[in-house]
Symmetry: C2
Subunit: 362 residues, 2 copies
């Protein structure tokens, strides 16, 4: 029996109801049902409508299931960029999206600020030729984030035809986006949705779909099975092109229903309350300091701290109490810790974590 509470930034602690939903999935033999059956279509439709309610998604958006957020980067470039994309980069994951565009032979422009910094919207210059503008609402590697207000200002700075993509991999459902000000938002289920990994959710509006169709009509290759038109065709039947991760779509439907029962506002309030506790602790700590200097750019869901004690030592101490935080990302592995503050983490668990981190100071 493993009683550890995972504050790692994904995979992370599972949402408290997941174990029970998995028991039900076993009893109902969800792993055996056909992905072409009515039963599967109902599961898909339930996940989709639940997400529409939770995120307050407008009708012009489609909910598409792919294998990972990493896959979304590739499909976004293939389907929505003829030649040029533009990327805000302030950490490892925003950089990977930029590199993906290069690997796929596109001219990718970049505006980069140091790891852990946020962006000042007034200083962002988007090339007139940019077809896709990649924003990173929450940089999981560094804990820097953009506010929804900042994101909303981008539309007026971007070319009229440019599609605005928002990486919310490790923050949704926390940010209350104005979906009319952007074109696509994507996330992974193993972060704030508290599910096992193996499913990416790609929200796209009609502008993204129209662009993909245009490119296809011009004879450009936009991929094979996971083009936007192919994904949409099946999504309209509450199905997927390939045999998908049925079990995870089932669990997503269930957890999203639980979240709707609780309410998005309540989840946001709890997220903010827990984040406030964590940042207050970090600011008062002798060992830790918030890694993101500017408070407005500090993530509420993936909180990164500089640590004077090596991250591995911090986790060694925490392990005695069945607790684990994430180590820093890449070259920050030992000099930073990352604390996931997801809906799965209760305020009591956060309090216990902070208490045990505090012990390290004495």
């Amino acid at each position: 029996m493993n009683n550890k509470v995972y504050f790692t930034p994904g995979p992370s602690e599972l949402y408290p109801t997941v174990a029970q939903h998995l028991q039900e999935a076993i009893a109902q033999k969800i792993g055996s049902i056909s992905h072409r059956s009515k039963q599967f279509q109902e599961i898909y439709a339930s996940a989709e409508s639940g997400l529409r309610e939770l995120l307050q998604l407008p009708d012009e958006y489609e909910v598409l299931f792919v294998a990972s957020a990493t896959e979304v980067w590739e499909r976004a470039i293939q389907n929505n960029v003829r030649r040029e994309s533009f990327h805000l980069v302030n950490g490892s994951f925003s950089k990977r999206f930029f590199e993906t565009a290069r690997e796929l032979g596109r001219e990718a422009h970049v505006q980069e600020v140091p790891f852990g910094h946020g962006f000042h919207v007034e200083s962002i210059t988007i090339p007139e030729t940019a077809e896709l503008v990649a924003l990173i609402q929450n940089e999981t590697s560094s804990g820097a984030s953009m506010t929804v207000e900042e994101i909303n200002q981008i539309r007026d700075k971007a070319p009229a035809d440019a599609l605005i993509y928002v990486d919310a991999v490790s923050s949704l459902p926390y940010p209350a986006f104005d979906y009319s000000r952007v074109d696509s938002v994507y996330f992974s289920v193993q972060k704030c949705f508290g599910l096992p990994a193996g499913l990416g959710v790609w929200l796209v509006n009609d502008r993204c779909l129209a662009k993909a169709r245009q490119m296809q009509e011009e004879g450009l290759s936009i991929g094979s099975y996971h083009t936007l038109p192919s994904l949409l065709e099946k999504a309209l039947q509450s199905q997927t092109v390939e045999t998908p991760n049925v079990l995870n779509i089932y669990l997503l439907a269930k957890v999203v229903a639980d979240m709707n029962h609780k309410g998005a506002d309540q989840i946001r309030q709890e997220t903010e309350a827990k984040a406030a506790r964590i940042y207050t602790f970090l600011e008062q700590s002798k060992l830790f300091t918030p890694a993101v200097e500017q408070p407005a750019h500090r993530s509420k869901t993936t909180i990164v701290a500089n640590t004077t004690l090596p991250a591995s030592e911090v986790n060694k101490h925490l392990a005695q109490y069945d607790l684990q935080v994430g180590s820093g990302y890449g070259k920050y592995k030992e000099t930073q810790i990352r604390i996931a503050n997801f809906p799965a983490h209760s305020i009591e668990q956060v309090e216990k974590l902070l208490e045990k981190l505090k012990e390290l100071e004495s």
Copy 2:
């Protein structure tokens, strides 16, 4: 509680030990562990070494995990075909691989025989320019299969540099391939491995990897995160590029260990014994006939029968006894049934199925 036994050709009946392994995964919180942790690397290594043993895979092969067999089609073309591929087509899935090559802008050649027919090796002509030869060992849509002996003859008919790909999506671990006579074999876990869907396994030899590297060095785009070199780099560390379906890799490791405990030979003998029972029944039936005429080309794992009673009526009858077979594929939906004969299906379950199918004759 769902007590149905699924003879559908994937997703299908789960391997009998899966429910217990899922319980252990819940207790061990496998859904929460990091895909960069030592614990995950051990799970990955266990799945890989187990597969190497079960399939008797030579050292020059790598075991790569992707999202689905559908993804393998795309990655194979991107990584291993500059211009031309060649496809044997005798059903819907072999056709999809061919279409994938076209969608990706390649010149795809095809040799097609009618749905449900096998190939006569002597009549196969492979163009000298073919870089990839796509064989379909087991066509899940029609129940036609190639024998290992037939597959082994292809090497001598193919250009020396051509890479021979074998679709064993719904047959491995049954076929005892001579891996030195082919270059890549791929399968999905929701078929004969009796797992929930959401994971494809791509076995590639050093020739496939060398070709991908050559193409990359020539400046051709071979994709982004799931290029063969990227997949290999992480596989050598027992990791994946993206956050994968950790839970399914865990379950695969466990089920493969169970299969090794039983032994590949035993699994093959049982598969043949059950297939013999099913085909004997079909040949003697007044309602059903084997859809594949030539006995040598009849699949042992996905058995397709023509039915005079609509497939939906057959399943309505079976539902009373908590049994389900697959309907026919595509336009054969009502005129054929498909019976999965996977390692998860016991001889007792097969006997019960045949008994209930027989009732329909009276």
